[in-house]
Symmetry: C2
Subunit: 321 residues, 2 copies
């Protein structure tokens, strides 16, 4: 085998994952470290360079043509710097410069984690073959990325598609981002559980599981308060999806992340509410489908962004091209 | 003079305007008809073909290489059909087919009026030289169009950028579009006047002018209720602008239309509110500026979209290229 590979790194608040990725999206030689998010800027960088160093030690490193990094945001792809909300020791941290010691002059592509997931689902997952798609993660936070005209659109700074921080309730509660009534502030897993508990739901029947998974199990069993908690989240998500479709035109919405594991408990009310908010003819009939790549989406997508940026052939499998 | 021209038509609920347009954006040979919006589909088409026929009778028609049409939406640019909210006799009306009798095989480009205005302001107005911009009209309705990566992005159906119908209040009032809490439902001129009157403002001091202009005059004179009416509109606009910036990344927002004539009565609270809603680093510092092209923006923009689509050279003036 002498075909080209790219190296991919996915940086989150909990862990830093890496892999070598083939032109078909296959992951080789994985490496992973916990994110020392509160230790020091240097400690987090060391975790990243440790992961990349592990990859360089594989026998296949000589075939690597580029490095793609997907990072928790916000970030500034133009400057190669990141300020992830969930890694407080990194503010305007020069990440691309920081990995140069390990990768030398290799081309490096930096995109936000939402953009990376969108690139991954478009290349190898649920958005394959779709020209205009929003790919979302609904988890402890809410993020997303956009496929526009059959390509990843990450925006000048790499943050585009960040649906979690658009306001759907302009007089609503303050969001930790400083805004008000953001989708994430209403719809995230954390806020589903918070709302259910405040509305009187008690986790006793789910073995004391007071997390979103417990609320989901109760909703699936018909608990009305748990259902209302998911409905409220779904309405906020749907209003945000409809806004995105109205602004950029969408044919497909892909939803992944922990909360999406609730399946129809989430997807059914999202589809119902989307029909209410997306009423203009050109935003009707949008497909809402589960993500396919699971926790590897970020790595696959960082690779996809890197393949594209480096001008290397990127196989689309049955989607062609 | 033997240089190429395009023909441009701007279709609104009140009037249908046309002109021949040079590669520098100069308008020649204007024509105009009132829109018989409630008569019949054929009568509205006849008004359009009358306008175009007037243009064909000019001595310069032989230099025309393409026709650009900007139409009130929604529309479907792929099918060449339009369903303008304010022209109820046209539903899925085959407009492009309808003008063939006058223009023969000339290339025809159809875009929404919001997209046309964005193309116009980007080519010859306030968004010149800006790579990522939202151009809005705040009038009896609220519309918009997007410049992404230095080009008009109209979306597959020509409706992209329609900020008037994104929800910023997902539990809010029903909008005539069927949605809930849309920007237009809160921020349009009609709704500013409605809100002010409902909140107790009385137009006596403005010579009985109960329109948005009367509210604007009262606000400029310091009337607290009139100010609150503009502030509320401005907050809804700002939440929508912040959402658009968060999703597609913007450096500039251009605001035109009748309500923008209120000047700082509108712009000052929009800028203030935008600082509250657009808090993530990559959406801070967006320029909010008045439109420059006035009522000609739609014609200039239909021409710009047509020049681009037809592959003809489009002069940018001092912005180059």
């Amino acid at each position: 085998m002498t075909t080209d590979l790219v190296a991919a790194v996915d940086i989150g608040g909990t862990k830093i994952a890496g892999a070598l990725v083939t032109g078909e999206g296959e992951l080789l030689h994985r490496a992973q470290r916990p994110t020392p998010a509160r230790e020091s800027a240097a400690a987090v960088l060391r975790a990243v360079t440790d992961v990349v160093t592990r990859l360089t030690e594989s026998g296949d490193w000589s075939r690597v043509r580029a490095l793609g990094i997907g990072s928790a945001g916000p970030l500034d792809a133009r400057l190669g710097s990141v300020s992830p909300v969930n890694i407080p020791v990194w503010r305007d941290f020069p990440l691309v410069e920081g990995v140069r010691g390990v990768v030398g002059e290799l081309p490096v592509t930096l995109v936000g984690d939402g953009a990376a997931i969108a690139a991954g689902e478009h290349w190898r997952g649920a958005a394959r073959g779709r020209r205009n798609a929003l790919c979302m993660v609904v988890s402890t936070g809410v993020g997303g990325g956009l496929i526009v005209d059959d390509r990843l659109y990450a925006g000048p700074t790499g943050n585009a598609g960040h649906i979690g921080h658009i306001s759907v309730d302009f007089n609503g509660d303050l969001c930790p981002c400083g805004g008000r009534g953001c989708v994430e502030r209403i719809a995230s897993g954390t806020n589903i559980a918070r709302y259910a508990l405040a509305a009187g739901w008690r986790p006793a029947d789910q073995g004391g599981d007071a997390t979103t998974a417990g609320v989901a199990a109760a909703a699936a069993a018909g608990d009305p308060v748990a259902r209302e908690a998911f409905d409220r989240s779904a309405r906020a998500l749907a209003a945000g999806i409809a806004a995105t479709a109205t602004l950029v035109e969408l044919e497909t919405v892909v939803i992944g992340g922990g909360v999406s594991q609730a399946g129809e408990v989430l997807f059914a009310p999202v589809r119902r509410a989307l029909a209410e908010y997306a009423t203009l003819p050109y935003v009707q009939g949008i497909d809402v489908v589960p993500a396919q790549l699971g926790t590897d989406a970020g790595l696959v997508g960082a690779a996809a962004a890197s393949w594209r940026e480096s001008g290397t052939f990127l196989s689309r499998g049955e989607a062609g091209n």
